[in-house]
């Protein structure tokens, strides 16, 4: 694996809390000394969140479809309509 990928892996291990306590301590020292590593770490953290957000949107669409499906079931629809009447 090329050096940059090794660094990406190291950042990921830190963000996902997969590093040992000693590795974590060393990484945090490096973060203080290396602004480029700090910036990459912050950006990588954002990528994790972006991936989560994107797939959460897809999941939410699935739940919307599920909701519409259930609301077409007479028993379920009746239960919900009774709550709101």
């Amino acid at each position: 694996m090329r050096n940059e990928l090794i660094e990406t892996e190291r950042i990921d291990n830190y963000l996902l809390k997969k590093s040992s306590p000693a590795e974590t301590k060393l990484f945090e020292m490096d973060l203080l000394l290396d602004s480029s590593l700090f910036e990459k770490t912050e950006k990588q953290k954002l990528v994790h969140r972006f991936v989560r957000i994107f797939h959460r949107r897809l999941r939410r669409k699935q739940l919307e479809n599920l909701h519409h499906y259930l609301m077409r079931q007479p028993d379920f629809k009746k239960t919900i309509d009774l709550i709101f009447t």
Binding site: E9, E42, K43, V47, I53, R60, H67, Y69, L70
Partner: protein, 166 residues
């Protein structure tokens, strides 16, 4: 652990009426109930997939509890600092998604990368499973590809003063 679609349907059928009753009693609409329920259900599903779900009663009660917290937060009756960690992380991500062109960053990585990243970071599958699913020769080559995808997105993000932009 992953839930099958029929299990999700069953959970939905059982848990939604509890949340709907709660939201209705507090002046919310059916649409509010659905939105809050979806948020609570997503917190539940994500925690379950990640293996960090701590349930002391039943999944149904857990979802209802999260829904109550989310509703109180939406009504500004509880502060973000008072939210449980899993709910705070969820609401922070939602706020970020409204402020950032998330799709612009991700789409440039391509569909295969998006799926690969999803299976690891969202579905929490092992690299062994991911290698098999995507046809890589083994976990190591799947890992290398995953990091290449990650870098592709990461390198597009440019920080501005106090914020970040494309």
């Amino acid at each position: 652990m992953y839930l099958q679609e029929n299990e999700i349907l069953q959970f939905y059928r059982e848990a939604f009426p509890d949340v709907a009753r709660y939201i209705h009693r507090r002046g919310g609409t059916q649409e509010d109930a659905k939105d809050i329920f979806h948020d609570a259900f997503l917190v539940f599903l994500e925690r379950k997939a990640k293996g960090t779900l701590a349930i002391y009663s039943s999944p149904r009660a857990y979802i209802a509890g999260i829904a109550k917290i989310l509703w109180l937060h939406r009504q500004q009756r509880i502060d973000t600092s008072q939210l449980p960690e899993e709910v705070a992380a969820y609401t922070e991500d939602n706020a970020l998604s409204q402020a950032q062109p998330v799709m612009n960053y991700l789409q440039m990585a391509g569909e295969k990368c998006l799926q690969l990243l999803k299976t690891f970071y969202y579905d929490n599958l092992s690299m062994q499973d991911i290698a098999a699913r995507f046809g890589f020769s083994g976990p190591r080559s799947a890992t290398v590809q995953k990091f290449k995808c990650l870098e592709k997105i990461r390198n597009q993000i440019k920080f501005k003063t106090g914020a970040y932009a494309e």
